[in-house]
Protein backbone atom coordinates (compact mmCIF):
# COMPACT_ATOMS: atom_id res chain seq x y z
CA UNK A 1 0.00 0.00 0.00
CA UNK A 2 1.27 3.46 -0.88
CA UNK A 3 0.92 5.72 2.13
CA UNK A 4 -0.96 8.75 0.84
CA UNK A 5 0.75 10.80 3.53
CA UNK A 6 4.27 10.22 2.20
CA UNK A 7 3.96 13.39 0.10
CA UNK A 8 4.02 15.36 3.36
CA UNK A 9 7.31 13.87 4.53
CA UNK A 10 9.48 16.87 3.53
CA UNK A 11 7.22 19.22 5.51
CA UNK A 12 7.10 16.86 8.49
CA UNK A 13 10.90 16.70 8.41
CA UNK A 14 11.19 20.49 8.23
CA UNK A 15 8.93 20.89 11.25
CA UNK A 16 10.80 18.22 13.19
CA UNK A 17 14.11 19.93 12.45
CA UNK A 18 12.76 23.32 13.47
CA UNK A 19 11.19 22.13 16.72
CA UNK A 20 14.30 20.07 17.60
CA UNK A 21 16.17 23.37 18.03
CA UNK A 22 13.96 23.80 21.10
CA UNK A 23 11.97 26.73 19.69
CA UNK A 24 8.29 27.06 20.67
CA UNK A 25 5.99 25.89 17.88
CA UNK A 26 5.00 29.14 16.15
CA UNK A 27 1.88 27.48 14.74
CA UNK A 28 0.60 26.09 18.03
CA UNK A 29 -0.09 29.17 20.12
CA UNK A 30 -3.15 29.14 22.38
CA UNK A 31 -4.71 32.26 23.86
CA UNK A 32 -5.97 31.30 27.28
CA UNK A 33 -7.79 34.54 27.93
CA UNK A 34 -8.57 37.49 25.69
CA UNK A 35 -8.61 40.72 27.66
CA UNK A 36 -9.26 43.20 24.86
CA UNK A 37 -8.70 43.51 21.10
CA UNK A 38 -5.03 44.24 21.82
CA UNK A 39 -4.17 42.10 24.87
CA UNK A 40 -4.47 38.37 25.67
CA UNK A 41 -2.96 35.85 28.08
CA UNK A 42 -0.71 33.38 26.26
CA UNK A 43 1.26 30.74 28.22
CA UNK A 44 0.15 32.50 31.39
CA UNK A 45 1.77 35.76 30.29
CA UNK A 46 0.06 39.01 29.38
CA UNK A 47 0.76 39.51 25.68
CA UNK A 48 0.24 42.45 23.34
CA UNK A 49 -1.51 41.27 20.19
CA UNK A 50 0.18 42.52 17.03
CA UNK A 51 -0.72 39.66 14.74
CA UNK A 52 -4.50 39.67 14.53
CA UNK A 53 -6.66 41.12 11.75
CA UNK A 54 -8.66 43.04 14.30
CA UNK A 55 -7.71 46.30 12.55
CA UNK A 56 -10.60 48.37 13.87
CA UNK A 57 -10.83 46.71 17.29
CA UNK A 58 -14.52 45.84 16.96
CA UNK A 59 -14.46 42.45 18.74
CA UNK A 60 -15.36 43.84 22.17
CA UNK A 61 -17.45 46.79 21.00
CA UNK A 62 -20.42 47.05 23.38
CA UNK A 63 -23.01 47.59 20.63
CA UNK A 64 -21.65 44.70 18.60
CA UNK A 65 -21.77 42.33 21.59
CA UNK A 66 -25.27 43.47 22.50
CA UNK A 67 -26.52 42.84 18.94
CA UNK A 68 -25.10 39.33 19.04
CA UNK A 69 -26.66 38.52 22.41
CA UNK A 70 -30.02 39.78 21.28
CA UNK A 71 -29.88 37.67 18.12
CA UNK A 72 -29.00 34.61 20.20
CA UNK A 73 -32.11 35.14 22.27
CA UNK A 74 -34.38 35.90 19.32
CA UNK A 75 -33.16 33.42 16.70
CA UNK A 76 -31.24 30.66 18.50
CA UNK A 77 -27.73 29.38 18.06
CA UNK A 78 -27.74 28.41 14.38
CA UNK A 79 -29.78 28.13 11.21
CA UNK A 80 -29.08 24.47 10.34
CA UNK A 81 -29.50 25.20 6.67
CA UNK A 82 -28.43 26.76 3.38
CA UNK A 83 -29.07 30.40 2.54
CA UNK A 84 -31.35 29.32 -0.31
CA UNK A 85 -33.48 26.96 1.78
CA UNK A 86 -34.13 27.47 5.49
CA UNK A 87 -30.97 29.43 6.30
CA UNK A 88 -31.94 33.03 5.56
CA UNK A 89 -33.23 34.87 8.65
CA UNK A 90 -33.94 38.57 8.78
CA UNK A 91 -30.45 39.31 10.26
CA UNK A 92 -28.90 37.77 7.11
CA UNK A 93 -30.91 40.16 4.98
CA UNK A 94 -30.07 42.99 7.34
CA UNK A 95 -26.31 42.48 7.09
CA UNK A 96 -26.62 42.50 3.29
CA UNK A 97 -28.47 45.82 3.60
CA UNK A 98 -25.68 47.12 5.83
CA UNK A 99 -23.09 46.14 3.19
CA UNK A 100 -25.05 47.87 0.43
CA UNK A 101 -25.13 51.02 2.55
CA UNK A 102 -21.45 50.72 3.43
CA UNK A 103 -20.28 50.39 -0.19
CA UNK A 104 -23.10 52.33 -1.86
CA UNK A 105 -23.75 49.39 -4.16
CA UNK A 106 -26.89 47.69 -5.43
CA UNK A 107 -26.24 44.08 -4.44
CA UNK A 108 -24.61 42.22 -1.57
CA UNK A 109 -24.30 38.50 -1.02
CA UNK A 110 -23.02 37.05 2.25
CA UNK A 111 -21.05 33.78 2.37
CA UNK A 112 -19.98 31.74 5.37
CA UNK A 113 -16.34 32.90 4.99
CA UNK A 114 -14.29 35.20 2.76
CA UNK A 115 -12.52 32.11 1.49
CA UNK A 116 -15.82 30.78 0.21
CA UNK A 117 -16.77 34.15 -1.28
CA UNK A 118 -13.67 34.05 -3.50
CA UNK A 119 -14.09 30.37 -4.21
CA UNK A 120 -17.73 30.81 -5.17
CA UNK A 121 -17.72 34.03 -7.16
CA UNK A 122 -14.55 33.32 -9.15
CA UNK A 123 -15.33 29.71 -10.04
CA UNK A 124 -18.89 30.60 -11.01
CA UNK A 125 -18.43 33.71 -13.15
CA UNK A 126 -15.31 32.59 -15.05
CA UNK A 127 -16.15 29.41 -16.95
CA UNK A 128 -14.85 27.32 -19.82
CA UNK A 129 -13.25 29.44 -22.55
CA UNK A 130 -13.01 32.52 -20.30
CA UNK A 131 -9.68 33.94 -19.14
CA UNK A 132 -8.69 34.95 -15.62
CA UNK A 133 -5.75 37.35 -15.43
CA UNK A 134 -4.47 37.66 -11.87
CA UNK A 135 -1.58 38.88 -9.75
CA UNK A 136 0.89 36.10 -8.92
CA UNK A 137 0.81 37.06 -5.20
CA UNK A 138 -2.95 36.51 -4.90
CA UNK A 139 -4.42 34.97 -1.74
CA UNK A 140 -4.90 31.18 -1.58
CA UNK A 141 -8.68 31.57 -1.74
CA UNK A 142 -8.35 33.33 -5.12
CA UNK A 143 -6.09 30.61 -6.49
CA UNK A 144 -8.45 27.93 -5.23
CA UNK A 145 -11.39 29.71 -6.87
CA UNK A 146 -9.46 29.66 -10.15
CA UNK A 147 -8.67 25.99 -9.73
CA UNK A 148 -12.26 25.11 -9.01
CA UNK A 149 -13.54 26.77 -12.20
CA UNK A 150 -12.83 25.88 -15.81
CA UNK A 151 -11.36 29.16 -17.04
CA UNK A 152 -7.85 29.60 -18.45
CA UNK A 153 -5.69 31.04 -15.66
CA UNK A 154 -3.00 33.57 -16.57
CA UNK A 155 -0.90 35.08 -13.76
CA UNK A 156 1.31 38.14 -14.04
CA UNK A 157 4.16 39.53 -11.94
CA UNK A 158 3.08 41.28 -8.75
CA UNK A 159 1.69 44.79 -9.33
CA UNK A 160 3.28 44.88 -12.80
CA UNK A 161 0.91 46.90 -14.99
CA UNK A 162 2.83 46.22 -18.21
CA UNK A 163 2.94 42.46 -17.61
CA UNK A 164 -0.81 42.51 -16.98
CA UNK A 165 -1.49 44.51 -20.15
CA UNK A 166 0.61 42.18 -22.31
CA UNK A 167 -1.43 39.21 -21.18
CA UNK A 168 -4.75 40.97 -21.71
CA UNK A 169 -3.66 41.98 -25.21
CA UNK A 170 -2.90 38.37 -26.17
CA UNK A 171 -6.24 36.90 -25.12
CA UNK A 172 -8.19 35.66 -28.16
CA UNK A 173 -10.84 37.97 -29.57
CA UNK A 174 -14.27 37.49 -28.04
CA UNK A 175 -13.20 35.52 -24.96
CA UNK A 176 -14.62 36.58 -21.56
CA UNK A 177 -12.02 38.20 -19.30
CA UNK A 178 -11.82 38.60 -15.53
CA UNK A 179 -9.00 40.56 -13.90
CA UNK A 180 -8.44 39.76 -10.20
CA UNK A 181 -6.56 42.17 -7.94
CA UNK A 182 -6.25 42.85 -4.23
CA UNK A 183 -6.34 46.26 -2.56
CA UNK A 184 -3.77 45.40 0.13
CA UNK A 185 -1.50 42.39 -0.29
CA UNK A 186 -1.38 40.92 3.17
CA UNK A 187 2.11 39.43 3.21
CA UNK A 188 4.14 42.60 2.68
CA UNK A 189 1.34 45.04 3.42
CA UNK A 190 1.77 46.82 0.09
CA UNK A 191 -1.13 48.19 -1.95
CA UNK A 192 -1.93 47.84 -5.65
CA UNK A 193 -1.95 50.72 -8.18
CA UNK A 194 -5.63 49.92 -8.74
CA UNK A 195 -6.49 53.07 -10.65
CA UNK A 196 -3.96 52.39 -13.41
CA UNK A 197 -4.54 48.64 -13.43
CA UNK A 198 -8.32 48.89 -13.62
CA UNK A 199 -8.07 51.47 -16.43
CA UNK A 200 -5.99 48.98 -18.43
CA UNK A 201 -8.38 46.11 -17.63
CA UNK A 202 -11.32 48.19 -18.84
CA UNK A 203 -9.47 49.17 -22.02
CA UNK A 204 -9.38 45.46 -22.89
CA UNK A 205 -13.01 44.89 -21.97
CA UNK A 206 -12.31 42.83 -18.85
CA UNK A 207 -14.51 42.64 -15.78
CA UNK A 208 -12.66 43.44 -12.56
CA UNK A 209 -12.82 41.75 -9.15
CA UNK A 210 -10.96 43.34 -6.25
CA UNK A 211 -10.41 41.59 -2.92
CA UNK A 212 -10.44 44.33 -0.27
CA UNK A 213 -10.15 41.98 2.72
CA UNK A 214 -7.33 43.93 4.38
CA UNK A 215 -8.50 47.48 3.64
CA UNK A 216 -12.14 47.48 4.70
CA UNK A 217 -13.02 49.95 7.41
CA UNK A 218 -9.62 51.58 7.31
CA UNK A 219 -8.48 52.71 3.85
CA UNK A 220 -10.49 55.26 1.86
CA UNK A 221 -12.52 58.26 3.08
CA UNK A 222 -15.44 55.96 4.03
CA UNK A 223 -13.34 52.87 4.71
CA UNK A 224 -14.47 51.20 1.49
CA UNK A 225 -10.93 50.25 0.57
CA UNK A 226 -8.06 51.01 -1.76
CA UNK A 227 -10.33 51.41 -4.80
CA UNK A 228 -12.24 54.15 -2.98
CA UNK A 229 -8.98 55.79 -1.87
CA UNK A 230 -7.75 55.88 -5.46
CA UNK A 231 -11.09 57.05 -6.85
CA UNK A 232 -11.85 54.01 -9.01
CA UNK A 233 -14.49 52.14 -7.00
CA UNK A 234 -17.12 52.80 -9.69
CA UNK A 235 -15.05 50.79 -12.19
CA UNK A 236 -14.85 47.71 -9.97
CA UNK A 237 -17.40 45.06 -10.96
CA UNK A 238 -17.07 42.88 -7.86
CA UNK A 239 -15.65 43.65 -4.43
CA UNK A 240 -14.84 40.67 -2.23
CA UNK A 241 -14.58 41.22 1.52
CA UNK A 242 -14.62 39.45 4.83
CA UNK A 243 -16.08 39.90 8.30
CA UNK A 244 -13.05 38.17 9.83
CA UNK A 245 -10.81 41.24 9.85
CA UNK A 246 -11.97 44.82 10.50
CA UNK A 247 -15.58 43.73 11.09
CA UNK A 248 -14.39 41.47 13.91
CA UNK A 249 -16.44 38.31 13.44
CA UNK A 250 -16.57 35.70 10.66
CA UNK A 251 -18.15 35.60 7.21
CA UNK A 252 -17.45 36.76 3.68
CA UNK A 253 -19.22 38.76 1.01
CA UNK A 254 -19.36 40.06 -2.51
CA UNK A 255 -20.88 43.45 -3.39
CA UNK A 256 -21.62 44.49 -6.96
CA UNK A 257 -23.67 46.78 -9.20
CA UNK A 258 -24.07 44.14 -11.88
CA UNK A 259 -27.76 44.18 -12.88
CA UNK A 260 -27.97 40.37 -12.99
CA UNK A 261 -26.04 39.80 -9.78
CA UNK A 262 -28.87 38.16 -7.82
CA UNK A 263 -28.72 35.03 -10.03
CA UNK A 264 -25.50 34.18 -8.18
CA UNK A 265 -27.61 33.00 -5.24
CA UNK A 266 -28.84 30.08 -7.33
CA UNK A 267 -25.75 29.14 -9.33
CA UNK A 268 -22.89 29.66 -6.89
CA UNK A 269 -22.19 26.32 -5.25
CA UNK A 270 -20.14 27.51 -2.23
CA UNK A 271 -23.14 29.70 -1.39
CA UNK A 272 -25.81 27.07 -1.93
CA UNK A 273 -24.27 23.89 -0.60
CA UNK A 274 -23.22 24.95 2.88
CA UNK A 275 -25.00 26.16 6.00
CA UNK A 276 -25.53 29.88 6.51
CA UNK A 277 -23.85 31.84 9.30
CA UNK A 278 -25.43 31.77 12.77
CA UNK A 279 -27.82 34.68 13.37
CA UNK A 280 -25.66 36.02 16.21
CA UNK A 281 -22.71 36.28 13.83
CA UNK A 282 -24.57 38.20 11.13
CA UNK A 283 -26.18 40.47 13.73
CA UNK A 284 -22.76 41.40 15.16
CA UNK A 285 -21.47 41.91 11.60
CA UNK A 286 -24.34 44.23 10.65
CA UNK A 287 -23.80 46.38 13.74
CA UNK A 288 -20.06 46.48 13.23
CA UNK A 289 -20.31 47.35 9.51
CA UNK A 290 -22.66 50.24 10.26
CA UNK A 291 -20.34 51.55 13.00
CA UNK A 292 -17.37 51.36 10.63
CA UNK A 293 -19.13 53.87 8.38
CA UNK A 294 -18.56 56.51 11.04
CA UNK A 295 -15.09 55.59 12.25
CA UNK A 296 -12.99 58.43 10.83
CA UNK A 297 -11.24 59.08 14.17
CA UNK A 298 -10.29 55.45 14.55
CA UNK A 299 -9.01 55.36 10.99
CA UNK A 300 -6.81 58.39 11.70
CA UNK A 301 -5.38 56.81 14.85
CA UNK A 302 -4.67 53.53 13.06
CA UNK A 303 -2.75 55.39 10.34
CA UNK A 304 -0.77 57.14 13.07
CA UNK A 305 0.05 53.77 14.68
CA UNK A 306 1.12 52.37 11.34
CA UNK A 307 3.44 55.31 10.62
CA UNK A 308 4.95 55.25 14.12
CA UNK A 309 5.66 51.52 14.09
CA UNK A 310 7.07 51.61 10.56
CA UNK A 311 9.45 54.43 11.42
CA UNK A 312 10.40 52.90 14.78
CA UNK A 313 11.28 49.52 13.29
CA UNK A 314 13.11 51.01 10.34
CA UNK A 315 15.14 53.30 12.60
CA UNK A 316 15.98 50.29 14.79
CA UNK A 317 17.54 48.66 11.74
CA UNK A 318 14.95 46.10 10.66
CA UNK A 319 14.34 45.36 7.00
CA UNK A 320 10.68 46.04 6.19
CA UNK A 321 8.36 44.88 3.42
CA UNK A 322 7.59 48.39 2.17
CA UNK A 323 9.62 51.63 2.04
CA UNK A 324 6.67 53.59 3.42
CA UNK A 325 3.71 52.35 5.49
CA UNK A 326 0.90 51.61 3.03
CA UNK A 327 -1.61 49.76 5.22
CA UNK A 328 -2.10 48.47 8.77
CA UNK A 329 0.35 45.64 8.05
CA UNK A 330 4.05 46.18 8.69
CA UNK A 331 6.09 43.21 7.56
CA UNK A 332 9.55 42.55 8.99
CA UNK A 333 11.76 40.46 6.69
CA UNK A 334 13.70 37.66 8.40
CA UNK A 335 16.90 36.13 6.97
CA UNK A 336 15.54 32.55 7.13
CA UNK A 337 12.91 30.38 8.81
CA UNK A 338 15.12 29.29 11.69
CA UNK A 339 16.11 32.80 12.74
CA UNK A 340 12.57 33.99 12.01
CA UNK A 341 11.20 31.39 14.43
CA UNK A 342 13.87 32.39 16.96
CA UNK A 343 12.88 36.04 16.69
CA UNK A 344 9.20 35.13 16.91
CA UNK A 345 9.87 33.25 20.14
CA UNK A 346 12.02 36.05 21.57
CA UNK A 347 9.15 38.47 20.93
CA UNK A 348 6.70 36.12 22.61
CA UNK A 349 8.96 36.06 25.67
CA UNK A 350 8.92 39.85 25.63
CA UNK A 351 5.12 39.63 25.69
CA UNK A 352 4.37 40.36 22.04
CA UNK A 353 2.51 38.21 19.53
CA UNK A 354 3.14 38.69 15.80
CA UNK A 355 2.43 36.39 12.83
CA UNK A 356 5.23 34.23 11.51
CA UNK A 357 4.68 33.75 7.77
CA UNK A 358 6.67 31.39 5.58
CA UNK A 359 6.48 29.89 2.09
CA UNK A 360 4.23 29.01 0.31
CA UNK A 361 2.09 31.81 1.79
CA UNK A 362 4.87 34.38 1.30
CA UNK A 363 6.24 35.75 -1.98
CA UNK A 364 9.78 34.94 -3.15
CA UNK A 365 10.32 32.29 -0.47
CA UNK A 366 10.58 34.90 2.30
CA UNK A 367 10.16 34.37 6.04
CA UNK A 368 8.26 37.30 7.52
CA UNK A 369 7.18 38.57 10.90
CA UNK A 370 3.93 40.27 10.07
CA UNK A 371 2.72 42.97 12.40
CA UNK A 372 -0.86 44.08 12.02
CA UNK A 373 -1.92 47.11 13.96
CA UNK A 374 -5.21 47.85 15.61
CA UNK A 375 -6.98 51.19 15.94
CA UNK A 376 -7.16 50.43 19.66
CA UNK A 377 -3.40 50.07 20.16
CA UNK A 378 -2.51 53.10 22.24
CA UNK A 379 0.40 55.33 21.24
CA UNK A 380 2.10 54.04 24.40
CA UNK A 381 1.63 50.39 23.38
CA UNK A 382 3.24 51.14 20.02
CA UNK A 383 6.31 52.54 21.80
CA UNK A 384 6.41 49.46 24.06
CA UNK A 385 6.24 47.27 20.93
CA UNK A 386 9.21 49.04 19.34
CA UNK A 387 11.25 48.47 22.51
CA UNK A 388 10.32 44.79 22.52
CA UNK A 389 11.45 44.45 18.90
CA UNK A 390 14.80 46.08 19.68
CA UNK A 391 15.50 43.74 22.63
CA UNK A 392 14.28 40.62 20.82
CA UNK A 393 16.25 41.58 17.71
CA UNK A 394 19.47 41.76 19.74
CA UNK A 395 18.73 38.47 21.46
CA UNK A 396 17.86 36.61 18.26
CA UNK A 397 20.85 38.02 16.38
CA UNK A 398 18.75 39.86 13.81
CA UNK A 399 20.02 43.35 14.58
Amino acid sequence: MTDLFSKFDPLIQMRTDLLSTGVTDPFGLVMEKVISPTVAICNGRETILLGTYNYMGMTFDADVIAAGKQAFDLYGSGTTGSRVLNGTYSPHRDVEEALKEFYGMDHAMVFSTGYQANLGIISTIAGKGDYIVLDIDSHASIWDGCKMGDAEVVPFKHNDIEAMEKRLRRIPEGAGKLVILEGVYSMLGDIAPLKEMIAVAKKYGAMVLVDEAHSMGFIGPNGRGVAEEQGCLDDVDFIIGTFSKSVGTVGGFCVSNHPKFEIMRLVCRPYVFTASLPPSVVATAATSVRKLMHAADKRAHLWENSRTLHKGLRDAGFQLGTQEPQSAIISVIMPDLERGAGMWEALLHEGLYVNLARPPATPAGMTLLRCSLCALHSAEQVQTIIGMFERAGQKAGIL
Binding site: Y131, I136, C146, E152, V153, V154, P155, F156, K157, A163, K166, R167, R170, I171, A364, G365
Partner: protein, 79 residues
Protein backbone atom coordinates in the same frame (compact mmCIF):
# COMPACT_ATOMS: atom_id res chain seq x y z
CA UNK B 1 8.00 29.37 -37.43
CA UNK B 2 8.95 25.69 -37.82
CA UNK B 3 9.83 23.37 -34.96
CA UNK B 4 13.60 23.64 -35.35
CA UNK B 5 13.60 27.43 -35.33
CA UNK B 6 11.21 27.52 -32.37
CA UNK B 7 13.34 24.99 -30.50
CA UNK B 8 16.44 27.07 -31.10
CA UNK B 9 14.84 30.23 -29.75
CA UNK B 10 13.53 28.42 -26.67
CA UNK B 11 16.95 26.89 -26.04
CA UNK B 12 18.42 30.39 -26.03
CA UNK B 13 15.75 31.53 -23.54
CA UNK B 14 16.48 28.60 -21.23
CA UNK B 15 20.21 29.36 -21.04
CA UNK B 16 20.04 32.12 -18.38
CA UNK B 17 17.86 29.87 -16.18
CA UNK B 18 20.05 26.78 -16.71
CA UNK B 19 22.31 27.44 -13.73
CA UNK B 20 24.05 24.07 -13.85
CA UNK B 21 24.43 24.28 -17.61
CA UNK B 22 23.09 20.80 -18.19
CA UNK B 23 22.68 19.60 -21.78
CA UNK B 24 19.05 20.12 -22.83
CA UNK B 25 17.27 17.46 -24.90
CA UNK B 26 13.59 16.94 -25.73
CA UNK B 27 13.32 14.72 -22.63
CA UNK B 28 14.81 17.25 -20.19
CA UNK B 29 12.30 18.09 -17.43
CA UNK B 30 11.93 21.59 -15.99
CA UNK B 31 11.11 20.61 -12.42
CA UNK B 32 13.43 17.60 -12.18
CA UNK B 33 16.47 18.15 -14.41
CA UNK B 34 16.56 21.95 -14.54
CA UNK B 35 15.31 22.33 -10.95
CA UNK B 36 12.97 25.21 -11.77
CA UNK B 37 11.07 26.46 -8.72
CA UNK B 38 7.77 28.31 -9.03
CA UNK B 39 9.45 31.74 -9.25
CA UNK B 40 11.77 30.59 -12.01
CA UNK B 41 8.82 29.09 -13.85
CA UNK B 42 7.00 32.41 -13.76
CA UNK B 43 9.97 34.36 -15.13
CA UNK B 44 10.75 31.72 -17.73
CA UNK B 45 7.15 31.46 -18.95
CA UNK B 46 6.97 35.25 -19.19
CA UNK B 47 10.13 35.26 -21.31
CA UNK B 48 8.68 32.64 -23.68
CA UNK B 49 5.34 34.44 -23.88
CA UNK B 50 7.02 37.75 -24.71
CA UNK B 51 9.32 36.20 -27.30
CA UNK B 52 6.51 34.50 -29.22
CA UNK B 53 3.68 36.91 -28.27
CA UNK B 54 1.51 34.07 -26.95
CA UNK B 55 -0.23 33.09 -23.70
CA UNK B 56 0.64 29.84 -21.96
CA UNK B 57 -2.08 29.58 -19.31
CA UNK B 58 -1.49 27.71 -16.04
CA UNK B 59 -3.84 25.05 -17.37
CA UNK B 60 -1.55 24.53 -20.37
CA UNK B 61 1.58 24.73 -18.21
CA UNK B 62 0.29 21.83 -16.13
CA UNK B 63 0.55 19.61 -19.23
CA UNK B 64 4.13 20.65 -20.02
CA UNK B 65 6.86 18.79 -18.17
CA UNK B 66 9.70 18.54 -20.69
CA UNK B 67 11.54 20.77 -23.11
CA UNK B 68 10.16 18.76 -26.03
CA UNK B 69 6.58 19.24 -24.85
CA UNK B 70 7.19 22.97 -24.46
CA UNK B 71 8.51 23.28 -28.00
CA UNK B 72 5.49 21.38 -29.34
CA UNK B 73 3.11 23.57 -27.35
CA UNK B 74 4.73 26.79 -28.53
CA UNK B 75 4.66 25.63 -32.17
CA UNK B 76 0.95 24.90 -31.78
CA UNK B 77 0.18 28.16 -29.96
CA UNK B 78 1.77 30.19 -32.73
CA UNK B 79 -0.90 28.70 -34.99
Amino acid sequence: MDRAATAEKIAALIAPFNKKEIAVTDATTFAGDLEFDSLTVMDFVAAIEDEFDIIISMNQQAEIETYGQLVDAVVKLQG
